[in-house]
Amino acid sequence: MANEEVLSKLEELRSLARSQGVDLGDQINQMEQRVNTTVSQEPAAFPAWYNVQLSRRQDRPKPQDFVAALIDNFIEFKGDRCAGDDKAILGGIGTFEGQPVTVIATRRGSTLHTNMEYNFGMPHPEGYRKAMRLIHQAAKFRRPVLLFVDTPGAYPGIDSEDHGISEAIARSLSDLIGIAVPLITTITGEGGSGGALALSVADKILIMENAIFSVISPEGCASILFKDSTQAPRAAQSLKLDAKSLKELGLVDAVVNEGDGLHVSSEIGFKNLRTRITHELRELKSLDAGSLLDARYRKFRAIGNFSL
């Protein structure tokens, strides 16, 4: 999509949001800024920025598309049994290569309407609590859990804070370390900060070739540390948030080849991911519960670089 076209779409979005009485000003401004930054920066100097842009492409398959492609007989289960149902997170059960699994996926829209419905992929506490409810259920019925993550982060809003987004994320981190069935997370697009990490305390963290995983958005990092949000490309490069760098740092277990890129064709990427998950599941299922939990603990215990 040409940049002018995107900008005109954003204008359209703005008027529609206004007519519906929803304030999306910030999201729209952010997107506008992204478009402008794209124009002003040389991609070659900051290859990681190219990954950021690829990971956010509208025509890239969303986590729910991964579920549709990889999971058969999927049934969605809703609600956190506490306060509501968050549409930004999809949960349910299905079969993967013939075996029952629990599935958790963040959800992103591909049109204006669906984007608003899924809150631009930003979950509220209810979403994480639903995910944990379903994952505890998976442990009860001894089925593995497959998680697909693509989110800019947890939602920064009043409701989200009031309902304890901090607690919901912290609880997820604490719960996942003790779930006695195999957990495999795939970062399919944007792995945004704590909101993504809350679904990534897994035995294996896989990442699609053009996906990213970051402690903060490059725009946020640039505006805080470089006092200039148009320096996002430089921030992206400095944060080492691209799949290849993350693998080199030992922070993800495998990078899944996308072929020509998921936005061109998803066939190869999906096929490679299916193979990879099948392989990982076979390995993980051979472990007894104790060794599985022990290995997961040791994996996260070992992360960190310091000198003594």
Partner: protein
């Protein structure tokens, strides 16, 4: 003219002899940043650095926290040799670290063991002067070791939390410290041990979304800002004015995420009370009291 200076001029007699000049130390009086009242420094200290007029809790540095909490001379630092590395070669990070480490060699958290009214406790105190107390590989490792030691020795852990969140300059390495600390706390907790934390101003971001919310008993300091996203970010996102007192400890407690708000002068006795009710008590043979029967 500032009030302390005025007092100095009014009450300090002019020296008769230049060589024997009488001086008042500059820090004899302090002004409360909230209610602007001038307070005699010693009186402020006697009240645990809480304003006598408005109850404003002055910011404490690590040493002041130790003085406030620990029995005299009982503090023994732990894991102080763990130092940061600029793994990502992040712009300006290495230089910043070098400069900061000169004054703050223990990085963004000081960990140690001490006794509180004779009760042995493992304590971590976050340091706002080190990159906003941000959570990086060093803080993550120290916190994990503290909980592992607590598990090994079956002792309670108390953390004074004050942090802007995960440290950007360490990328996902720092993000993962949220998972790493949460994992260690989980093991500690599963062993039936007690973790108390005190959230002070400010507790935000990745820290609020990990070990700050995983205490068995979570205390807050009055008026402390506690939240995931900062108020400015939220305001920018929703383009609305935030409710009054939003993300302040009192508000967070009303929403159900703090067990109690404890004013600093009451902190020690509250802790001792909680420790005692969890069967953590002072060893009987400490100090001559109670007298041993011969």
């Amino acid at each position: 003219m500032k009030v302390p200076e005025l007092i100095k001029r009014l009450f300090v007699t002019k020296p008769r002899d230049d060589k024997k000049e009488i001086t008042l130390p500059d820090n004899l009086f302090v002004q409360c940043p909230k209610c602007k009242i001038t307070i005699y420094q010693k009186k402020l200290h006697a009240n645990s650095d809480v304003c006598l007029e408005c109850g404003h809790h002055f910011v404490l540095n690590v040493q002041q926290w130790i003085d406030l909490l620990a029995d005299r001379k009982s503090w023994k630092p732990l894991f102080a040799n763990i130092k940061p590395i600029d793994t990502l070669h992040f712009p300006d990070y290495e230089g910043k670290l070098k400069k900061l480490l000169k004054d703050e060699p223990e990085e963004s958290i000081s960990t140690g063991r001490c006794t509180i009214e004779g009760i042995p406790v493992l304590v971590g105190i976050m340091n706002p002067n080190f990159l906003m107390g941000s959570l990086g590989s060093v803080a993550g490792e120290k916190i994990v070791r503290l909980f592992e030691l607590g598990l090994q020795e079956r002792q309670p852990v108390f953390l004074v939390v004050r942090s802007g969140g995960a440290r950007m300059q360490e990328g996902v390495l720092s993000l993962m410290q949220m998972a790493k600390t949460s994992a260690a706390i989980r093991r500690f907790s599963d062993a039936g041990l007690l973790y108390i934390n005190l959230l002070t101003h400010p507790t935000t971001g990745g820290v609020s979304a990990s070990f700050a919310m995983l205490g068995d008993i979570t205390l807050g300091e009055p008026k402390a800002l506690i939240g995931f996203a900062g108020p400015r970010v939220i305001e920018q996102t929703i383009k609305q004015q935030l409710p009054e007192g939003f993300q302040k400890a009192e508000y967070v407690q009303e929403k159900g995420f703090l067990d109690a708000i404890v004013a600093r002068p009451k902190l020690r006795e509250t802790l001792v009370s909680i420790f005692t009710m969890h069967n953590f008590t002072a060893p009987k043979d400490r100090f001559p009291w109670p007298m041993k029967k011969s």
